[in-house]
């Protein structure tokens, strides 16, 4: 699915989206609500300029349209791995984007992420994983790092990693694994516009992903360990 098709499917009542290369932003109509849309296509690397630009859209939405829901449609293969980005402090730019999304949430903007194509590592952390909820299309792809780089960092042979990536859920890429671990709230399939409308109307609250990971038996330790550290007497 390309971004145009996705937007038409999500917003049958209409959307006004400006495309600028791999980046797009605008608004869409859902019932009587206007939703701010912010996204990328083509599996773009997120570098310092793009992270800064996305943060700017979030800030403009908070300033000019208080309370307007924000839908993130970020298609990324991760942070741009370059010396220049590191030289300029890309982690600070990613953190800024995350802080702006958190500001929007605290100011009452509903924030929803949809992984519709690819979501990788730092680009995912600073965007959809910071939303109130993150959903996914069932054929989308989520991962942390390409296997050759993983092999070099972990010193585990590439062949071993390739074998593991077939069936080990905490290791293997895939949206179903992320759903079971609680990071993906649910899949959107069939009538995507209805999925979006339902998500916009569902209640929000604190971060429940650990609890979902436990309920779905994809992440058994995180919830219990965090609860113990929070509440154990010392």
């Amino acid at each position: 699915m390309d971004a145009n098709h996705l937007i038409n499917t999500l917003f049958p009542q209409g959307a006004e989206i400006d495309f600028d290369g791999e980046f797009f932003t605008g608004t869409g109509q859902v019932g009587d609500k206007i939703v701010a849309v912010l996204g990328t296509q083509g599996g773009v690397y997120i570098g310092v300029e793009l992270a800064h630009r996305m943060a700017g859209i979030v800030l403009d939405t908070v300033r000019n349209h208080p309370g307007r829901p924000i839908l993130l449609l970020v298609d990324t293969k991760g942070q741009r791995p370059s010396r220049r980005d590191e030289l300029l402090g890309i982690n600070g730019y990613m953190a800024h984007l995350a802080k702006c999304l958190d500001l929007a949430r605290r100011q009452g903007h509903r924030t929803i992420g949809l992984v519709w194509s690819q979501a990788v590592s730092g680009g995912f952390l600073a965007s959809s994983l910071l939303a109130d909820e993150c959903y996914a299309l069932p054929d989308a792809e989520v991962r942390v790092m390409n296997l050759p780089a993983m092999s070099r960092v972990t010193k585990i042979p590439l062949e071993r990693l390739e074998a593991l990536s077939l069936d080990n859920p905490v290791f293997a890429p895939g949206v179903e694994n992320y759903r079971r671990m609680g990071a993906i709230r649910d899949f959107w399939q069939g009538d995507l516009a209805a999925c979006l409308a339902t998500a916009l109307d569902s209640p929000t609250g604190p971060d429940r992903r650990r609890a979902h990971g436990l309920e779905r038996e994809g992440r058994l330790m995180a919830y219990k360990v965090a609860e113990r550290v929070r509440h154990d007497p010392v």
């Binding site: 300029e49 800064h52 800030l59 300033r63 791995p81 370059s82 010396r83 220049r84 980005d85 590191e86 030289l87 300029l88 402090g89 890309i90 982690n91 600070g92 953190a95 800024h96 995350a98 802080k99 702006c100 958190d102 500001l103 605290r106 100011q107 590592s121 730092g122 952390l125 994983l129 910071l130 989520v142 942390v144 790092m145 780089a149 993983m150 070099r152 960092v153 593991l164 859920p169 905490v170 290791f171 293997a172 890429p173 694994n177 992320y178 671990m181 990071a183 604190p206 971060d207 992903r209 650990r210 058994l220 330790m221 995180a222 919830y223 360990v225 965090a226 113990r228 550290v229 010392v234």
Partner: protein, 293 residues
Amino acid sequence: MSSYYEASARERLLGLLDEGSFQEILPPSARISSPHLRQLDTPAAFDDGIIVGKGLLDGKPVLAAAQEGGFMGGAVGEVHGAKLTGLLERALDEKPAAVLLLVESGGVRLHEANAGLIAVSEIMRAILAVRAAGIPVFVLDGGQFGCFGGMGIASRLCDAVVMSEEGRLGLSGPEVIETTMGVEEFDSRDRALVWRTLGGKHRYLLGEAAGIVPDAIAAFRDAAIGLLRQAQAPDLSLAAMQAEHRRLANRLERFGQCRDAIDIWRSLGIEEPAGLPLLEIPEFVARTQDRRA
């Protein structure tokens, strides 16, 4: 003077906090370790590479965590991350004067990559929740593995980062960039290049780090006490984010064309920029006074 760089996470924590004040939560005797590593025939640790607890700093109650680079480079797995998130959320209940994060981490632990990535995002949400509750979160970065990946992002969500020159801070580590993009993009074996690109001096001049200290546990302790004494309620307002947005735009405008840290230092108006890596910290601070971005 006891080196922070050479010390273990426990030595750093005990040296940083007021003597005898540290109380660990879920200590190694609780035998909480990663369930995923043994599937890969990788040794586990009974604290999963992170120590969390409470103590006093300058007589004030704080919560503190220290990542152990000696265990898997301090990387964040499911249990490691949950301990840090749990500690941050404990701050919401206990309302300490601050939370101190003694970071040393390569980022997500790739052996349990999915659980680690999600754990980092939970840490990020928890840091922002703690700050929104009015409690400052301070980061100390001076360990052998530096602070990379998701922990590099998480660190910049906090109120302030204090570094030594030896502590590095970034997102993609040099080895990852070299493997992904080629050695001509980033030669990870060129130590001088790595340090001047990612090390404490450049981060301090760029404004990514609030303070820089010599490599000594006592120096980090003094800096942490300084931050605590000057601490104000975290400002997460729209105006604060807009100001940060302008600072970051300004950085792109001023330095976006620079090829090397030395070019950036030169355009900051620092004399003899190529000599900065050789300077001791007091001399470095004096030389660069009023020149930071």
